[in-house]
Point group: D2
Chain length 304, copies 4
């Protein structure tokens, strides 16, 4: 497979959609980002790599972080994790509080806000220094020791994070948060506020594609079967209420963030990240969705 040629075609053919969509508006620090940026980076498990456009520009990874915290929580609790969170797609917007009330404080899955907040609570309960250990894990995964938090984005999210505060209070009401609400939210906002570029994210997702290799980073260890299960959750739950659409059009496990990034993996083949801040109405990057659809169409490779 000539990924360089294919990705170049994809990058060119998607240029015409560059002005569709709007960047996120409810987090002021994110609203400042130049919306016309567009980068993509693919790396195969055999070591080939292609980068195009703004693939070295760091952006706020936002909800892509939920894959990293899920890996941590799953490594710590194993199947016991599912006593506190489900694995079903939500069929609702990413921050819907309705489901939480109906389902009595058990979030649908770990890749929506409520679920990731419960994972944050778990990490706080089990780690000595969650902020430090989370950052260390991400640095090791991506082989990049200089990745760091963007404090002003973390603060901006906190200042406008009333919905996440509502969710956390609901979870606490139902007994599904053990730690102090402010601590949980602060950790959660920091997770989202890490800055990474396409290359770093692709590197960090490669171990999920390459699950027959050891998944062992710092104290975080997963079996091949566990990595595959995280991939399964990405497939059914990674794109909020557009997960079915992504599965249908692209056919790869992946995760999006409102910063405009999407990382996805083709098992035993490659990891890829696309970044462009303009989002569709479901909160997913317009160009990210289109580029990845074109990629699996041209390569004729998906999980199905």
């Amino acid at each position: 497979m000539n990924y360089k040629n294919i990705l170049t075609e994809v990058f060119e053919e998607t240029q015409e959609f560059k002005h569709l969509g709007e960047s996120v508006s409810y987090i002021p620090e994110l609203a400042k980002v130049n919306p016309n940026q567009y980068g993509v980076y693919l790396q195969t498990i055999k070591g080939e790599s292609v980068g195009l456009g703004d693939y070295t520009t760091p952006f706020s990874i936002q909800s892509i972080s939920k894959v990293f915290t899920l890996a941590m929580g799953f490594s710590i609790l194993g199947e016991k994790l599912w006593d506190r969170i489900g694995v079903e797609p939500s069929g609702n917007r990413f921050n819907s509080i309705i489901q939480l009330e109906i389902e009595k404080g058990i979030p649908r899955n770990p890749l929506i806000n409520a679920g990731a907040i419960v994972v944050s609570d778990i990490l706080i309960s089990h780690l000595r220094n969650p902020l430090k250990e989370y950052l260390e894990f991400v640095r090791r995964l991506s082989k990049c020791p200089n990745i760091d938090y963007n404090k002003s984005i973390a603060k901006s999210e906190k200042d406008y994070g009333y919905l996440n505060a509502a969710i956390t209070n609901m979870l606490k009401h139902y007994g599904n948060i053990n730690n102090d609400i402010d601590d949980v939210l602060s950790f959660y906002f920091h997770q989202c506020a890490i800055m990474m570029n396409c290359q770093q994210l692709t590197q960090a997702f490669l171990p999920f594609a390459n699950h027959t290799e050891d998944f062992s980073f710092n104290t975080i260890n997963l079996t091949s079967s566990q990595v595959k299960r995280i991939n399964a959750i990405m497939l059914t739950c990674g794109f909020y209420d557009e997960s079915g659409e992504f599965s249908y059009r692209v056919g790869l496990p992946g995760k999006s963030g409102v910063g405009g990034g999407i990382s996805a993996i083709c098992p035993q083949e490659y990891a890829v990240t696309v970044w462009s801040p303009r989002l569709n109405k479901k909160g997913n990057s317009v160009l990210g969705m289109k580029a990845l659809e074109l990629l699996t169409t041209k390569t004729k490779l998906s999980i199905f």
Copy 2:
């Protein structure tokens, strides 16, 4: 009408139900109250009065306070109040957060938690010292200058008030709270934590029954038409998702609280308060519901 005889009959005939229901459990300070207490106090606008049982024992008025804050908010904003709150029955449990998400942060009515929290926010915005002015208003209404907050109940509610915190954050998310969330919640919890007995509550509700008289207490003034509109809201919204049942069985405007109190009025005739801490599944006093049903059956007087 011989209210003394009728109320005595009601009091005796309801004794058999004294052990039905459970007192509220989620506010530890309230769970400590002896659940077997039962008091009733009726006063006519002509000046007759009857008190039976534990009618001089103070209890936590809880949501009955929502009528007092509604009167204050309505006096301050008039019809503009309805830009921020509706007047429709909720058809749901008193603290449901689902409706708030569906209706984008506009609470259904001022007598459910979300609505009363918005009223609290309004009072904070318009009053120099809300805690003091609210207490002053209630003292004047009930002609009892020694009514006061129970600080330990207020604290107990705050410590376990995650659902109300969730609601307030949701309201803030939708732009329907202008003040600091902690300030709003603290004021709200204090309103609920006032201690009054049946006699004092009945006195405080008498001006709602007697709406052709001036309603003017401290700086809070309402026209006869406005008082009648508050009565209308009590009728349709005063008993959470049992409002229809209360209207059907009793036929009087009223308001209940999870402390076990129910105050109700018969326009141009009387006000009445029943108190007993055991609640039915909808959060309303078992004996309160039964006693008032019997009262309007025996007097053949209701608003219908």
Copy 3:
């Protein structure tokens, strides 16, 4: 009280709103009615009466019929009626099917479609000739032996009544319909398709206002207490999800229909009907709502 002068004022002052709203569109036969008609008729229990505008023009009573069938069902089953229907306001649009699924086939109240369909089923089970006996009852109530069904409207409703068919099937699924679905629907559509004018409807509602008099028409008998309970249900449930608004602005028990009619009663005082086909977004007559609000404001008489 000079009702003639007051009603004349009301009629004149509301003329300016005559072009607001739209008549119902989903029942083709109703959509043909001239939307600019406007009539009002009030009659006191002492015998005074005032009629203005198009008060002798017959129109399709639609959901106002639900009060008549409720009276019949309540007369037949008494309190057992509530084993199959609730008495709580719905907080939702008049034909919402969501509530029915959540509440396992028990309609919220008898004045929404689902509730009235269950009442129809009950009448079919208990009456020898439901269509004939219903018509007889309405004729007696309104003292008008020439009231009749409009067959073409009944047919038009059936032809486009998929939502009501969906509701009836849901009710049957939950075991709350005993008769054949087509029979129940046909009877239900005929109830709605009766033609009456303001004067006849006012006459038919007068016994609900005058509940200390015998309520006994053909085989349908209600006690004073039962009539008051029907009034209570009208107050909390008579205007779909605008019941709170009607209670707040008007303060009388009443019932509206999508044909543009509203009938209301002031207990021990009068019954009144306003008719104008243009509806607001909630499905209630714009002029009906305004006229009745003005009426109770000017008379200073409401139930509160």
Copy 4:
């Protein structure tokens, strides 16, 4: 891979769960089936096959039929199919009517009842003899010309199919059914009432696994990309509100039916069917879920 040994192990190790769950009760004809039957049949695209237990006993395929009708509808309309149906997981029970009201008559996906009913409507609009052509397609797919409808099951479903009738009426109300409701339902019930055994179903699913081969049966033709998209929908939507769980535990596209069958495919590798009538609370075969989880665990082969 030695599928014979592996499947034999799976079959033996799952025997201990044979008495868990209950067979479907709401379709009388299905309730009569002996619940202790258990069969499994796997066939690889290379031609190997293994059958164990009751794999030659025909059973009612029920919702597994939705994959066949989806293939037909997709072949006829292509991407235009999605004007009338979504591709998102429902997050709700298989026959929930709530979603349909919220989403204005557009079913979430073609593998829930509402979606399959819309597909039925489409087939009726486009085929000369839908019942015959559907049967022909299934016979060709499974290479079994003697597969047929079970008329008594079809009738039994119709007699108790009030919920599906409610759904169809709702769809018609929202304009998403073009044909006569009874015709659509009759066709739908017949699709579900086809009798097939594990071997025949496996054969019929093999073309979905083997999507690089021509998918062309009678007049039904799909490209490789289209087959993969159907597989994607099976993965996210094939197990009602347990789709995430199946994806997580098994990791294969598949479809279950309340008759107790589950068919699944491993792309480019095999198709497999397990049948056992006892269902879990989500409506999926207990043994089917367990056997397939064990199969992908032992083979270490899934799509992730």
